[in-house]
Symmetry: C2
Subunit: 459 residues, 2 copies
């Protein structure tokens, strides 16, 4: 390319309109687009429309595409012939907001306190997605064009497994062709330490219900003579981990690619204060698989976590029953090269083999996704380093993340594209928990970094 792109006027535009962007983001956050709860699907559609209108207003050719579930907003600006094409992915849906009573201000009434914007979705992912929307809008307003071609795919089912996204990607493979994908749905390494994430864990998710008697029974009259579903469930769940934090499902570690010495050294070189980590979470000690550091456990080792446990009486006081059922929601984080389907099956087998007579075990699965580790030496990665440094004023550290973004695997598999994981948020932002928030500085720096990325990808 012969053009030289000067980001400075775009920077000025973004600095001047910083407050307006926050106000617009608050509008987006007011929409309770909880995809896991079907009662909120109308709100999810309202969020899709809001995003659609934003993209169209930027000057992007925009379409809202129906799926078997919630719609996907697709937008493109393809007027940089010969330049690379970047595909921005984000999601307009959010996690359920409960426990509601732990929020200082209501989850869907965005509030600014101490330089942070509090709302469900503030960082995951409405706020982070919005940085890219505002950066392309600024380029088009100030320069009348973008340095590269940019496409957006914004879905509404990320928090429930993106079950209709892969089909969309496969069906629209030609339309979506790109050189590199860009996703801002991760975090900086720490306060003032911007990062590029080159690895993610995968996930498998399932729910196991133990069914005993037809209905709750008196524990005096029947207790001791029938299997208690809650006791059985506890025994089964208790069998999943040993005292060393090792998952006991047969074959669970067979396909795990061990950490290299180089990576272990790189992790160890990152600043990490275990005392501060514990304090920030309100725990008195870390815990996990024996033989690994906390960063290794979070980024590069598989897990088996119960996300929810329920059955029988949960009200005030005692209730002397044998509950009819008990349920656990379980997710396992996976690392290269573990296979979600294979391990889901192994987990189910492990539980079924241990399930005693007198109860029935029901097992259902949600989405699964493989772990991803990207090439850190690509030119796209170099452009991302330049852009992050320009936006945040510091060179980023290279990290992995413990979370899962299934779409990253799909981009590789279906579109043949690597993904730049550029997280503007922080792990302390309480994503998925009460009082989720986004630092306004991070929002602004992320928007600047995004604007620089388009130039850096064409230099």
């Amino acid at each position: 390319m012969t053009d030289a792109f000067d980001s400075s006027t775009v920077d000025s535009e973004l600095r001047e309109n910083r407050d307006r962007h926050v106000t617009e983001l608050q509008e987006f956050l007011r929409i309770p687009s909880v995809s896991a709860d079907s009662r909120h699907h109308t709100d999810c559609r309202a969020a899709a429309k809001w995003v659609h209108d934003q993209m169209a207003a930027c000057g992007f050719a925009t379409e809202t595409v129906e799926t078997d579930g919630l719609p996907i907003v697709y937008a493109e600006w393809m007027q940089a012939p010969g330049a690379p094409t970047a595909l921005v992915y984000g999601h307009y849906d959010v996690q359920p907001p409960d426990p509601l009573d732990e929020w200082t201000t209501p989850p869907f009434e965005p509030a600014i306190r101490d330089g942070c914007l509090y709302a469900r979705g503030a960082t995951d992912d409405k706020g982070q997605l919005f940085t890219h929307i505002k950066s392309v809008a600024a380029w088009l307003k100030v320069a009348g064009r973008l340095p590269v071609n940019v496409k957006f795919v914004i879905e509404g089912e990320e928090e429930v497994g993106s079950s209709n996204l892969d089909r969309f990607l496969a069906d629209q493979k030609g339309w979506l062709a790109c050189d590199i994908a860009v996703v801002s749905d991760t975090a900086q390494y720490g306060d003032g330490i911007p990062a590029i994430t080159y690895g993610l864990r995968g996930i498998l998710a399932c729910e196991v219900t133990i069914r005993g008697p037809r209905q709750d029974l008196h524990s005096g009259v029947f207790g001791g003579a029938i299997a208690n579903p809650a006791n059985v469930l506890a025994q089964l769940i208790g069998s999943l981990l040993d005292d060393d934090g090792r998952i006991q499902v047969p074959g669970f570690y067979d396909d795990v690619v061990p950490l290299t010495d180089e990576e272990r050294q790189a992790f160890a070189a990152l600043p990490f204060d275990e005392h501060d980590f514990c304090q920030s979470l309100g725990i008195d000690a870390v815990s996990g698989e024996t033989g690994y550091t906390t960063l290794e456990r979070r980024w590069a080792r598989p897990t088996c976590d119960v996300n929810g446990l329920f059955g029988g009486y949960s009200g005030e006081g005692p209730k002397t029953i044998v509950p009819a059922t008990a349920t656990a929601k379980i997710t396992c984080r996976l690392v290269p090269d573990q296979d979600a389907d294979k391990l889901t099956h192994a987990l189910e087998q492990h539980l079924r083999e241990r399930c005693p007579p007198g109860v029935r075990l029901e097992f259902s699965t949600y989405h699964g996704a493989p772990a991803v580790v990207c090439d850190t030496s690509s030119p796209y990665m170099a452009a991302a380093r330049t852009a992050v440094e320009a936006g945040f004023g510091l060179p980023p550290v290279m990290i992995r993340e413990g979370g899962s973004i299934p779409v990253v695997g799909s981009f590789k598999e279906i579109l043949g594209a690597d993904t730049l994981l550029l997280g503007w948020g922080r792990n302390s932002d309480n994503l998925h928990g009460p009082n989720e928030h986004f630092h306004l500085d991070d929002f602004h720096h992320g928007t600047l970094a995004s604007a620089h990325l388009w130039a850096a990808l064409n230099s």
Copy 2:
């Protein structure tokens, strides 16, 4: 005593007014007197007043006595000098009605179907208590007197541990002096097999909460590096029972009085169809401590049942969190000579010793009560046999029960009185579960048996 009491006119009175008694009972059942839920304490007081008015209308000297919790209704008719004194105990409070969606008709809108009265408390204990109220009312109406002196103690905290009853019994020891206590809060042995219960299991009740991080955390970002309260709880609960159904708390069986060969033979002689038992509960097999029959497991062996399990996300779909807390409600049924306090402490110790670092264990206790086994050869027991046969038309079988009625131990300890456990209900009445009901025939036969008991106790 020189009087001869003729029960036949009382019988006629009770037969003629059978329907009216059902209508009156429905009134009582409409009051949602759920003692475990403080929002229903006004209703509990309304139930106390209803009972008070009934007793006063019979001609009993009646008082409602305040306690530190819900009031106790005390009533007496003491105009049979020289005759024995019976103390009837019952309770006007009921279990919580949930799960509400499993009730065919609402729990506090009594409905008659197929010869049964459906409502929370229909059998436990409003319906059974009411038989004694109607029998004394009939005697006083028809004969102008009762064959014996009768006192009533009707409390409102039975379902939450009767925590204020013992103090009342101790404080009013003189007032409450009696020769024999009468409690109808158990069941017949089976359909058409009336029974006298001579033994009850005791109980200990506690709640254990595992607290981890200050709030729910993202299971991708933090999973694997911090102890998960739900996983820890499951492991702790799973450690309570071994594969033979034996409780693993050290010392749990130390004080258990083994069943005698005679009792095992008597239990074995009772009709019991395991297939029918399983079918009636909707399970495919019984389960419990190895080496014991189902009746032995239900009546004479200790248990450790989880009554409720909750923590983390229980809504629709997945939610990828490490929950901040997880809780289990636990009750253990006890047998002679196990001590509730000692074993509660042992249970807490067992859990604390196994609780890993990184989480905190909170342990709280509810009421405890010892098991009771009564003398089957006393004259009171003989009177009860006569009365039950007169009411139900068949001689009763002698059984034990798996439930706990702490007051029976208190009557023995504080008042020095044995208790006649005359259960008019059935185990299939769904007491403590949804669709609790009372067979109208049982209600009527119980009322007749009660009327005969007063005569038989003075013959």
